[in-house]
Amino acid sequence: MLIEIQDLKRGYNMGQEDVWALNGVTLQVEKGEFVAIMGHSGSGKSTLLNVLGCLDVPTSGRYILDGTPVAGMNRAALARVRNQKIGFVFQSFNLLSRTTARENVELPMLYNPTAPRGKALHDRAEYLLEHVGLGDRMLHTPGQLSGGQQQRVAIARALMNNPPLLLADEPTGNLDSHASQEIMHYFRKLNEQGQTIVMVTHETDIAAYAKRKIVMRDGKVLP
């Protein structure tokens, strides 16, 4: 079991009343699954992804990631969990501008104290970039790459520390349909190789690539 969530709540204080973005979510994800979380805006799917990604801390409930309870951790410990257990793919790529593709991909390992340095680091980044089909673009900066290529750099970056969980937040939201298909094909290929993926999307044709769909509404998972 990679993800175990029990009765997870995340509330925000909006003036007079509390608003529950997550209102008792219970969810389990096995290793090797490819899960799509769907729902309208305001359904709580982004909050769930943030909590899963250890970017946000739940108000109450239990969250065990890869055997480690993360609910009560401090910021530094959460950063370590994010670094070693989670790879993020964002809608807007979030690559560092004026920085080469290879350096962008290397970034997570620079924050990993146990990771190799120097040539081994370059080798790993180059291997991943070749794997996503950008072997000839390693020294290009994001400005010189198309949207689909940028997202592939971002995927390579997410895989750098070989995390057990890959989280994608609307990964095709900024891409045209052709690039979207490429990215989703690549996700499916990764999943077939054993990578656990949890993806948030509101597009049904994108969600169709996943093996399992979860629909959220009003902070709860629909049965």
């Binding site: 943030n50 990604g53 970017l55 946000d56 910021r75 530094a76 950063a79 370590r80 994010r82 670094n83 070693q84 993020f88 964002f90 979030n94 560092l96 004026r98 920085t99 970034l107 997570p108 620079l110 924050y111 990993n112 340095r117 970056r157 520390n161």
Partner: protein
């Protein structure tokens, strides 16, 4: 991230905005350059002043006769001939632990004539210990001896200016010139002393045995002298020596407790202390002005770092999302500020040194760049960066990654 990597990341972030980085560092550059230049000029001035003062003699104590009130009229310093050569001899005898060397001195002057040249100069009569008291030896030839002193021999040593103007730069040793039609033989030439800070040429002088000046030039019969020159063993004994001297002279001159001193004692440390305190006060004053500009430079760094944190909010969010701990973000921005200000400091030091030497060259001022001022400036510039960079860095490290990633 280890130190080297943090440094590289910081350097790259600064290089991305070259013009902005340089403009930000300019405050520090100007501040440090001002400190370095001001201190170099100040130190140069005080070093040359000290050298000039120490060239006057070895821990020298000078006693002038004078300033005695006679019938209600004050004479100026040296106005009365009250000092005896024996006063100094008694001092040397009574305080051998203080007095290293002693010479009495009488002054005269006259027109020296050699062949077709003539030159008005001052003539001082001293004993051979003069060499030790004033740390002033002959460059060529010999100084006159005790035998010359006893005999009142018509011999002398001359300063470099005399050689140049009276002897046309030729070697004067063994030559004879005349003063008031009395012939004097040159035994040696004194080493060059240069001009005092007051503009007096110390080399324009003829030194003769005391007895010669008194008997031959002044035709005096009394045993009084104009000055007593002492060399004290140690700078720290100066106050003690002055006190002993004063007591001894009052006793020997039989001055009652209510009577004023009939002598004046001046020690060289007083003059040098006064001059150095003036120059160090100026240095401190200018250093304060310079530190204000450093303060302004530091605030400039803080300002730009705050802008930079805001600009790079998404980058901060991304770095946090992929595993940068708050402390890593803090260190990144802190390093950036420190690198910025330290580079500014290094450039400032270079600019300050070049500036100081240029100004010194134009004005013919002595320049002395002290290593300590360079080290302090460097350390201070790094401190300014860390101090003023801390708040922006802390703000960056406390940002919430979710908000950062959403930031437009």
């Amino acid at each position: 991230m280890n130190g080297m990597m943090i440094f590289k990341v910081a350097l790259r972030a600064l290089l991305r905005n070259k013009v902005r980085s340089i403009l930000t560092a300019l405050g520090i550059i100007v501040g440090i350059a001002a400190v370095i230049a001001v201190v170099a000029i100040g130190e140069g001035a005080s070093t040359s002043m000290k050298a000039q003062i120490s060239s006057m003699g070895d821990n020298m104590l000078i006693v002038f006769g004078g300033s005695m009130k006679k019938g209600g009229v004050h004479g100026g310093s040296g106005g009365f001939q009250t000092l005896m050569s024996e006063d100094g001899e008694a001092m040397s005898r009574d305080y051998p632990e203080l007095i290293k060397a002693y010479t009495p001195l009488v002054r005269s002057g006259g027109q020296a004539i050699y062949q077709e040249n003539n030159w008005a100069t001052q003539i001082q009569g001293v004993t051979p210990t003069f060499v030790a008291v004033r740390k002033w030896d002959v460059a060529s030839g010999v100084f006159f001896t005790d035998a010359d002193l006893r005999a009142g021999a018509r011999v002398c040593v001359v300063g470099q200016t005399i050689v140049d103007s009276l002897f046309n730069g030729q070697d004067p040793i063994g030559e004879t010139f005349r003063v008031r039609n009395i012939p004097f033989k040159v035994l040696g030439v004194l080493s060059k002393k240069g001009t005092t800070s007051m503009g007096q040429d110390q080399d324009d002088i003829i030194i003769m045995p005391l007895t010669t000046v008194k008997r031959v030039l002044r035709r005096g019969s009394f045993n009084n002298v104009d000055q007593l020159l002492f060399s004290i063993y140690d700078m720290g004994q100066m106050a003690e020596a002055k006190r002993a001297m004063s007591d001894l002279l009052r006793q020997r001159h039989r001055l009652g407790p209510t009577v004023e001193d009939d002598f004046t004692i001046i020690d060289m440390t007083e003059i040098s202390d006064m001059l150095t305190s003036v120059s160090s006060m100026m240095t401190i004053l200018m250093a304060v002005v310079a530190s204000i500009s450093l303060l302004v430079g530091g605030i400039g760094i803080m300002n730009i770092m705050l802008v930079s944190v805001t600009e790079r909010t998404r980058e901060i969010g991304l770095r946090m999302a992929i595993g940068a701990a708050p402390v890593a973000i803090l260190l990144q921005f802190l390093t950036e500020a420190a690198v910025l200000s330290t580079l500014g400091g290094v450039l400032g030091i270079l600019l300050g040194v070049v500036g100081a030497y240029t100004v010194g060259d134009i004005n013919k001022w002595p320049i002395y760049v002290t290593p300590i001022s360079v080290i302090i400036s460097f350390g201070f510039s790094a401190f300014v960066g860390i101090f003023f960079g801390f708040y922006p860095a802390l703000r960056a490290s406390r940002l919430n990654p979710i908000d950062c990633l959403r930031y437009e």
